[in-house]
Amino acid sequence: MIQFFHVSKQYFGNEALRDLNLAIGRGEFVFLTGASGAGKSTLLKLIYKEEEPSKGQILIDSVNSTLIPANKLFKLRRQIGIVFQDFKLLMNRTVHENVAIPLLVRGEKQADVEKKVNNALALVGLTFRKRYLTAHISGGEQQRVAIARAIIGNPKILIADEPTGNLDTNLSIEIIKIFERINANGITTIIATHDLNLISLFPRRIIKLDKGQLIQDKKIEANQ
């Protein structure tokens, strides 16, 4: 599903990722971890082509993403749902309007949009906030709006960058459980987090980066 071949990324001479080789299979649930500046966000950005690798190749669903032209980039991004660290929500719009954006840009019919928004909000437990202005709901709820927006387009891949960064433990667990439910539908899920305590509660594959290098790639079994 996602393959990195000798991928390096440099920013003005500083190496954010160094000769990374990685494969994530379809439907996998992966925690991407490492200290701040380890290269987690860079790796995620390379997947949704917000950044280009300085070296190497990246295959997304067997397509070399480095060869996708700018005017076709939206096709790749429609396959990927992204939950951003800072949510990237429009605070002056309602929850419904925020969640509906990915469908509107695809020109979907209003009736379908309505149905899918309701389903996505139900999945994250936010139906009752549908008509609220996004600025008027809590941080945890905003996080769930961001998740609903990421999954509404039925993506093949779901990426979340520090989705529990500003949340307390209970809320963080709740959010990861939502991701598990989404992953159960066959969506490849990659969550970047530095919260090792949280990871320990969910026995999944862990990819650890340090100074741009892969230093650990292991699958923790449920009984470990």
Partner: protein, 300 residues
């Protein structure tokens, strides 16, 4: 259809959001278009006036005495064959004398003093009325004047020539000012669109990341530029009409003679179309370059 509706809605929202900036922009575009509009109007009317003067462009080629009649006939045929010529005829010395007597019977007694006609023979030529032919007519006359048995030429083109010169000058000044104001106008719309892009930068970024196509993001801004340009053109048309209404009053005080000579009232419809199309094109072009400069679609 849905996409266009979305784009239009978004463009209108942008326009209504920054009312002051957009109103200022509209005013500048309108002024920018008004200047070439006025010069275009003046130029059009001067051209019309030159056409009027040119309707009676005549030349008289005086022939030297004792010239070969076969050569004169040949020259006459040559003149008649020219496409600029409406009609041409040979006036002999005697015929000229008769014509003079007919036109000035009170001066007949003077002619009685002469045995032969004192008037030279001539070829009288009337040209077709078309202002654009003036240069060709002058060139044609110069050529004929070089013929050895042509004594001199009498031409009534002086007025037309002077007006043509004024028209040329007006066109040049108009073009020069238009070029400067065009750049100003492009710069203004460019910056208005830039402000709107800046205002919506978060939304644009989100749209980009959730899979909106290039055109989905850019079209509202292009429409916004077009609408601004079109409305600017429309406002320029209104201002031009008002200026033209006010001009005769002004002219009466300042240059009554010119006003009598030239009837500055006719305003061709094509000027309106030109203003609207130019305004829209300026808007489209400015927003296009602004989008190219400020919307980042591709990754770093």
């Amino acid at each position: 259809m849905k996409f266009m509706f979305h784009s239009l809605k978004q463009a209108m929202a942008n326009l209504l959001r920054n009312k002051m900036v957009n109103a200022l922009c509209l005013g500048i575009i309108a002024f920018t278009l008004l200047v070439p509009g006025i010069f275009n109007y003046i130029s059009f009317n001067l051209e019309r006036y030159i056409s009027k003067l040119s309707e009676n462009v005549e030349a008289i080629f005086y022939i030297k005495d004792d010239s070969d009649s076969a050569a004169i006939e040949k020259l006459l045929q040559h003149i008649q064959a020219n496409l600029l010529v409406k009609e041409a005829g040979f006036i002999s010395k005697d015929q000229a004398k008769t014509n003079f007597s007919g036109e000035f019977p009170e001066l007949k007694y003077i002619l009685a003093e002469f045995n032969d006609s004192p008037f030279p023979a001539s070829i009288d030529v009337k040209f077709l009325a078309d202002a654009r032919n003036l240069i060709q007519i002058e060139s044609f006359i110069r050529d004929i004047n070089k013929v050895s048995f042509v004594e001199s030429v009498q031409l009534n083109l002086d007025w037309a020539r002077k007006i043509a010169l004024i028209k040329k000058f007006a066109s040049f000044v108009g073009l020069f000012l238009s070029a400067i104001l065009l750049i100003v106008s492009i710069f203004i719309i460019f910056n208005v669109v830039k402000i709107n892009i800046f205002y919506r930068r978060d939304e644009i970024n989100i749209l980009r990341l959730v899979g909106a196509s290039d055109w989905y993001i850019k079209t509202p801004f292009l429409i916004e530029g077009c609408v601004l340009g079109f409305l600017g053109g429309l406002l320029a048309c209104v201002l031009l009409l008002l200026t033209i209404k006010a001009f005769p009053l002004y002219a009466e005080f300042v240059f009554n003679i010119v006003k009598q000579l030239i009837d500055f009232k006719l305003l061709p419809q094509k000027i309106f179309w030109q203003l609207l199309i130019t305004g829209t094109a300026i808007g489209l072009f400015s927003s296009f370059i602004s989008l190219r400069r400020f919307i980042k679609i591709t990754p770093d």
